[in-house]
């Protein structure tokens, strides 16, 4: 039908024109393609929650080859740093106080003897809790190191089951590397801000230079403007996702264990949702300054605080936890972690995809409805 042909023709005209703007606008290109990669690298290294070389002290009360093997395992780990031996667990208090160590491993008397008998033997890990995230890191890493080398401490011929009990078992991230947790969060966080900004500016710019009035005088409909504006930025966004994931894989060894198409679907839906949010802002704001501020705030805060990027969603107060369901970054991060780390596909992540699709559809609908084709 001719109407449908015209519909797509006009979308194409808008999208092509927007693509020309983007091509000639170095700033936008940099913002869309270079920034995410640079930020992921910066954050990935700088804000890395991997506090490498965490200072650990050992209070060896057993003085046996087995207990020294435990200390040695800590010493040779790349993440921990053995800062010395303490005489007793009581000295730990002082070590913490002076800031010499953030963790003290106490190997109790009789450790080797219990091991030799094949009985469960405990070591005690004291952690300075003053910095919550450091404490968690110390716990995770010390446990990982001891767990991984537990077999070596056991006397030859000891029972099959590992004799040292390790409370936490970090299944998908056995080394406790936070890059694996952080990169998906960063990807979502950075893309959220950039996607919202891209479109928030795209329409506000037309208002400001007066071209919106000229556009309104053509038969181009609001759906055509909204979709046409979105398409070039969606392509940019997809390229940005690929670049960032490649950087994550290359620099931080982030694996890719799951289904590519599930990830692609999640990324496209997430991008449409965030680009749509930007459209809503610029339809309402009509001014690049206001659009920028509203865009940054409305994308940055929820994507950082309510997405599971910095804090686990489960730890949020109930009202915020319920609200976090409306934050696309939360679902995208879940999908990214699912595909990258757990090897998930459509079957496991259908809930996330559905949530992302619902958000995207709502944003586009609001943008199109609030986009009055009149000036008053």
């Amino acid at each position: 039908m001719n109407g449908i042909r015209l519909f797509f023709l006009r979308i194409y005209a808008v999208a092509f024109k927007e693509a020309l703007h983007v091509r000639r606008d170095v700033q936008t290109m940099i913002m869309a393609l270079v920034m995410p990669v640079v930020l992921v690298l910066l954050f990935g290294f700088g804000v890395s929650f991997d506090l490498d070389h965490l200072a650990i002290a050992v209070a060896d009360q057993d003085h046996t080859p087995a207990s020294r093997a435990v200390a040695h395992a800590l010493e040779t780990s790349s993440d921990l740093r053995l800062v010395g031996g303490l005489d007793s667990a009581a000295d730990a208090e002082q070590a913490f106080h002076r800031g010499d160590a953030v963790g003290v491993l106490v190997v109790p008397r009789g450790f080797a003897a219990k091991l030799a008998r094949g009985e469960p033997s405990d070591v005690q890990l004291l952690v300075a809790g003053s910095d919550g995230s450091t404490a968690i890191q110390v716990l995770a890493k010390a446990e990982a190191v001891i767990g991984a080398s537990a077999a070596r401490f056991a006397a030859p011929g000891a029972s099959v089951s590992l004799p040292i009990s390790v409370a936490t078992y970090i299944r998908y991230n056995p080394e406790g590397r936070s890059a694996l947790m952080i990169v998906p969060g960063l990807v979502a966080y950075i893309l959220a801000i950039i996607a919202v900004l891209l479109t928030a500016l795209a329409i506000a710019r037309e208002w400001e230079r007066g071209s919106m009035e000229q556009l309104f005088c053509t038969p181009v409909g609001r759906v055509e403007i909204v979709v046409g504006k979105l398409l070039p930025y969606l392509v940019l966004g997809v390229i940005a996702v690929l670049l960032v994931l490649a950087a994550g894989a290359w620099v931080f060894d982030v694996p890719f264990r799951g289904d590519l198409w599930t990830l692609a679907a999640a990324a496209v839906l997430f991008l449409i949702g965030m680009l749509g949010q930007g459209l809503v802002i610029s339809v309402l704001a009509r001014n690049q300054m206001i659009a920028t501020q509203a865009g940054v705030l409305s994308s940055m805060l929820p994507s950082m605080l309510l997405s599971g990027f910095l804090f686990p969603v489960e730890n949020l107060p109930t009202p915020l936890r319920i609200f976090s369901n409306l934050v696309p970054a939360r679902h995208f991060i879940a999908a990214l972690r699912g595909v990258l780390l757990r090897g998930n596909g459509f079957a496991e992540l259908s809930g996330e995809l559905l949530a992302l699709a619902a958000f995207a559809a709502t944003m586009l609908l609001i943008a199109a409805l609030r986009f009055r084709r009149r000036l008053d």
Partner: protein, 320 residues
């Protein structure tokens, strides 16, 4: 389609308590150049936006190319071309890219689009500028490209909102040659301006003062009606202080500063200017020369702004 290209009935636009356009009625004949004149803020753009279906009228209605602007703004937009006051083109795109985009927006594509682009660029005599970056073009050329843009879909009516604002005089004349050519080919042109000299090119003129249409007619009829009598252009030295003397001279209707001299409008019995010269010399002016001149639309505008109630008031005032 109605007989007139545009028919306006009691059209008003209020912004809050402010009446930007206040109860305006007129019509525009098919194929004529209709000039809409007024100072900044008089309500010209607001009227045009309503006629293009971009702003809903507060009260009243208008029919443009047979479509009601209140009920069928989309029908209106399809039938007209519009050059808005602020925007001319996307300066980061080439001429060709601009035309191709707006052509696509109007639903043109492929060979038809290319043919139309050729035709409009030929019309505005800018075939060589196709691949030029719009940012590099001078204002006058840009406005011509913008006009070409507004004509791509071959509208029967075009609205041009201050198309020559900020453009040098030579380019303004070139632009008006284009407008006249369009009208000769049967396109109805609705054009706003605050340059009174340009208004002389219009078949008819509507004069807006503070949202109201205070006068509407051909340029010469407006002059006869608003500035009756004979217009004398006076030059000399010391005219400023001496001009006072003319206020008390019977038969003088109005005295306005004009350039370095004066425009003095007088009744028929003072038409030779001798009495005016004598009065000015007596009041201390020197080197006085007086020639009969034609009233300009500037004079009409000044009279209309001074007495928006109508020319009758001017005549009465001048006769006192």
């Amino acid at each position: 389609m109605t007989e007139h290209a545009i028919e306006v009935h009691g059209l008003s636009k209020h912004f809050g308590a402010f009446r930007a356009v206040d109860d305006v009625s007129f019509h525009v004949e098919t194929g004529e150049i209709f000039g809409y004149l007024g100072a900044n803020g008089a309500g010209k753009s607001t009227t045009i936006r309503m006629l293009c279906g971009l702003l809903g009228p507060t009260t009243g209605d208008a029919t443009v190319a047979g479509h009601s602007v209140a009920d069928d703004p989309l029908g209106v937009r399809r039938a007209i071309g519009y050059m808005s006051q602020k925007f001319s083109l996307y300066v980061d795109l080439t001429v060709e890219d601009n035309l191709a985009f707006f052509g696509g927006a109007y639903g043109l594509s492929g060979k038809h689009l290319r043919t139309r682009m050729d035709e409009v660029l030929t019309l505005v005599d800018l075939r060589d500028a196709r691949t030029a970056n719009t940012a590099d073009l001078p204002g006058g050329i840009r406005q011509r490209v913008a006009l070409a843009n507004a004509l791509l879909h071959a509208p029967r009516i075009v609205f041009l909102d201050e198309p020559t604002a900020g453009v040098d005089p030579a380019s303004r004349r070139a632009f008006w040659r284009l407008i006249r050519r369009l009208a000769n080919e049967g396109t109805t042109v609705f054009v706003t301006t605050h340059y009174m000299d340009e208004a002389e090119y219009c078949a008819r003129i509507g004069l807006m003062v503070a949202g109201r249409l205070v006068a509407l007619d051909t340029p010469s009829a407006l002059k006869t009606l608003w500035v009756p009598g004979t217009m004398l252009a006076v030059h000399g030295a010391g005219l400023g202080p001496a001009a006072r003397a003319l206020d008390t001279l019977a038969g003088v209707h109005a005295v306005e500063p004009f350039g370095a001299g004066l425009h003095v409008r007088v009744g028929a019995d003072l038409g030779d200017g001798a009495a005016v010269t004598r009065a000015l010399l007596a009041a201390g002016a020197s080197d006085v020369s007086v020639v009969v001149t034609e009233a300009s639309l500037e004079d009409v505008f000044l009279a209309a702004v001074a007495t928006p109630e109508g020319p009758a008031a001017t005549a009465a005032g001048g006769a006192k």
